[in-house]
């Protein structure tokens, strides 16, 4: 699926996703199960709210002093022997990675999970330059073989059933046809990727946290794939958005307690790896990427979104995400957080996303760094309408609504007309032109409006 050139918006893709009802229910329940695991983990910590508040304040403080922290990180990382690069946008990031590989004559690279490289479309870029990239996170490898983007930032192939994964493995990795046992499929991927780890000279990883005070960076995985790649290769490239910084090593105490409990309900990831210095004789490169982040930092209403630590809790809890699937967002980061990040990158292309929400606020309630996600979704809607990027149907509807609601006379008349139409010619509203009729029956029209009832009763009581 290409992210470029949207022909359908989120609502249309959600419609497609909803054609298969049992599958939607399965998707919904799987994600809700993870949300419940998150709840159990969070509720087991009596100070959870204090932890969230502390994390939120540390992140906000970091954003308020980001330029200094970036320089401090750079100086300390360089003192540790790490080579630091700066990329203004996705294109520059991709060029930097390519030039590092070129310099070392590398044509094959192994990569662990990095949503930033998805955002930059690094794999496509490198493939065009004749460099093969293999994703090593199991979920990412599966979607890579299926030629799809990840549908979730923590659980990349959450939209696929094990039978479908079995088919992908049968086609690409030679497993027996019809084999869908997760144990056997995982073992197959382990053998296949071990070969990859052992033969690659360059490994790229993402970054979960970068520490200004020490110049080190932390990568969290459950599989151990980031470490297998980085420790076996000669060159380690770590790509990070500039908002990944935190001031001090001790701040990790706060963030590592929150991250995985919020993501999957585990107390911590299996591996929290602290990379401080390169192995003697080997190179570690860190690429600091802006790609719109400094612009978002300047948007007062939306800068809070840069506190995100990419746990995915807002996606797991979102009633719209659970019932529309990650691909319907057509953005590297889907769900509620993606819907407030993406319009900053390209407001026109992602104008549909802030509307892909019920504004129920569940996302804000589970967010470990207390981003006011649902408020930002609401604010983005206003910006998008003002800038003229809103769906014309929606604008027309809003205009009509404005006309009806701004005059008591028209309001009364339209109410009456509506009730008459629903009673007399119900097919005029109960048809597929009316989005409220989709998958539900229209309510019985009341005999009279509240206004009519009130006038009648007040008279009789006088």
């Amino acid at each position: 699926m290409s992210v470029e050139g949207h022909t359908k918006d989120h609502a249309a893709l959600a419609d497609d996703f909803n054609q298969d009802e049992p599958r939607v229910n399965w998707h919904d329940e799987t994600l809700w199960f993870i949300r419940e695991k998150r709840d159990r983990a969070a509720f087991a910590i009596p100070d959870w709210e204090m932890l969230r508040e502390t994390a939120s304040q540390i992140k906000f403080h970091t954003l308020s002093n980001l330029s200094q922290y970036l320089e401090q990180f750079e100086a300390n990382a360089q003192a540790n022997g790490i080579i630091v690069h700066w990329a203004a946008d996705a294109e520059e990031h991709n060029q930097i990675v390519h030039s590092i590989l070129q310099k070392h004559g590398v044509t094959q690279m192994v990569k662990s999970k990095s949503m930033l490289t998805e955002e930059c479309h690094l794999n496509d870029y490198l493939e065009q330059q004749g460099i093969e990239v293999i994703d090593s996170d199991l979920g990412e490898r599966i979607v890579q073989l299926a030629k799809e983007p990840p549908s979730h930032i923590v659980l990349p192939c959450i939209h696929l059933k094990k039978e479908e994964i079995g088919d992908i493995f049968h086609q690409h990795l030679g497993t027996e046809a019809g084999m869908s046992d997760p144990q056997i499929l995982t073992e197959t991927a382990r053998q296949h990727l071990r070969e990859t780890f052992l033969t690659r000279k360059a490994a790229l990883t993402g970054v979960n946290f970068a520490i200004a005070e020490t110049g080190e960076f932390v990568v969290c995985t459950n599989e151990g794939n980031a470490d297998m790649g980085a420790h076996l290769a000669d060159i380690h490239i770590a790509s990070m958005g500039i908002e990944k910084l935190i001031p001090r090593r001790s701040d990790l105490g706060v963030f590592l307690r929150l991250l995985t409990r919020s993501a999957t309900g585990q107390p911590i990831t299996t591996y929290s790896s602290h990379f401080k210095k390169p192995r003697p004789g080997h190179d570690v490169h860190v690429v600091l990427v802006d790609n719109g982040r400094s612009v978002q930092l300047g948007r007062e209403d939306f800068r809070n979104s840069l506190k995100c630590i990419r746990c995915g809790a807002c996606m797991n809890t979102c009633p719209v995400y659970r019932r529309s699937g990650g691909h319907s967002y057509q953005s590297a980061v889907a769900g509620p957080i993606g819907s407030i990040l993406a319009p900053n990158l390209d407001m026109k292309k992602h104008a549909d996303l802030p509307f892909a929400s019920t504004l129920c606020g569940s996302c804000s309630n589970v967010c470990p760094v207390k981003i006011d996600i649902h408020n930002q979704l609401y604010k983005w809607r206003q910006v998008i309408v003002k800038e003229g990027y809103a769906d014309p149907k929606k604008t027309l509807g809003m205009k009509a609504m404005n006309m009806v609601l701004s005059s008591p006379q028209t309001f009364k008349l339209s109410g009456k007309a509506g009730r008459w139409f629903m009673k007399t010619v119900p097919f005029l509203v109960s048809n597929k032109m009316n989005p409220w009729y989709k998958q539900r029956e229209m309510p019985q029209p009341p005999k009279e409006s509240f206004g009519e009832w009130y006038r009648r009763n007040r008279k009789s009581n006088e």
């Binding site: 094990k162 382990r190 599989e223 151990g224 076996l232 911590i268 192995r279 400094s294």
Partner: protein
């Protein structure tokens, strides 16, 4: 203006007015028995935990599953000749691919999440605790700290090239949320609490 200057200028211009760094409150673990809490959490995430008094005891337990034909390596001199303690060289790191069991000493454990803190100098090579099929970590029993805040207080400003918290065997649930142990790293983790 190069990208570095451009980014830093844009960030300085757009960052909000400085807010203070918050005071990190004092967090406390409810459980008081740290060894018990560590054990309970470590087992729940797939680790095996044994309380032992000596290296002999560790070897005895491990020899139930690991025999003479297995490749066992360690950076702990007391474990020779049960384990091959020959110093490892970086250029031979790919040859560790057939290691069945690696035994490393950890610095301390964390009760709230069953993690052990391990740094480069106790591993031999960085890849050791990942490339082995099975991993064992030896921790001093009195080294368990309650929470991650305590863990970082203990690490302080220690120097290391590479350090890692290891909590359980390598795992994945990427296929339909079914938990599978042994994704890319060790299939099992055994923690020995010694003392």
């Amino acid at each position: 203006m190069n990208s570095r200057e451009q980014i830093l200028a844009a960030v300085s211009k757009n960052q909000p007015a400085l807010t203070p760094m918050p005071e990190v409150p004092f967090f406390q673990l409810e459980a008081t028995d740290l060894v018990e809490k560590f054990t309970q959490v470590a087992v729940s995430i797939g680790s095996g935990v044994f309380q032992v008094e000596s290296y002999e005891e560790i070897q005895e337990i491990l020899s139930n599953d690991f025999k003479i034909h297995h490749r066992i390596i360690s950076h702990v001199p007391e474990l020779a000749p049960f384990a091959d303690t020959t110093p490892l060289e970086d250029r031979h790191r790919h040859q560790l691919e057939n290691v069945d069991l690696a035994i490393v000493k950890g610095h301390f454990g964390v009760a709230e999440n069953g993690a052990s803190w391990v740094t480069e100098e106790v591993m031999g090579l960085r890849v050791v605790p990942f490339i082995c099929q099975h991993l064992a970590i030896i921790l001093p029993k009195d080294s368990i700290v309650p929470l991650m805040h305590d863990a970082y207080a203990r690490i302080g400003s220690a120097e290391y090239g590479y350090g890692v918290f290891i909590a359980g065997p390598s795992k994945t649930a990427d296929i339909e949320q079914s938990l599978v142990l042994g994704a890319h790293g060790p299939r099992t983790l055994t923690v020995f609490l010694m003392g």
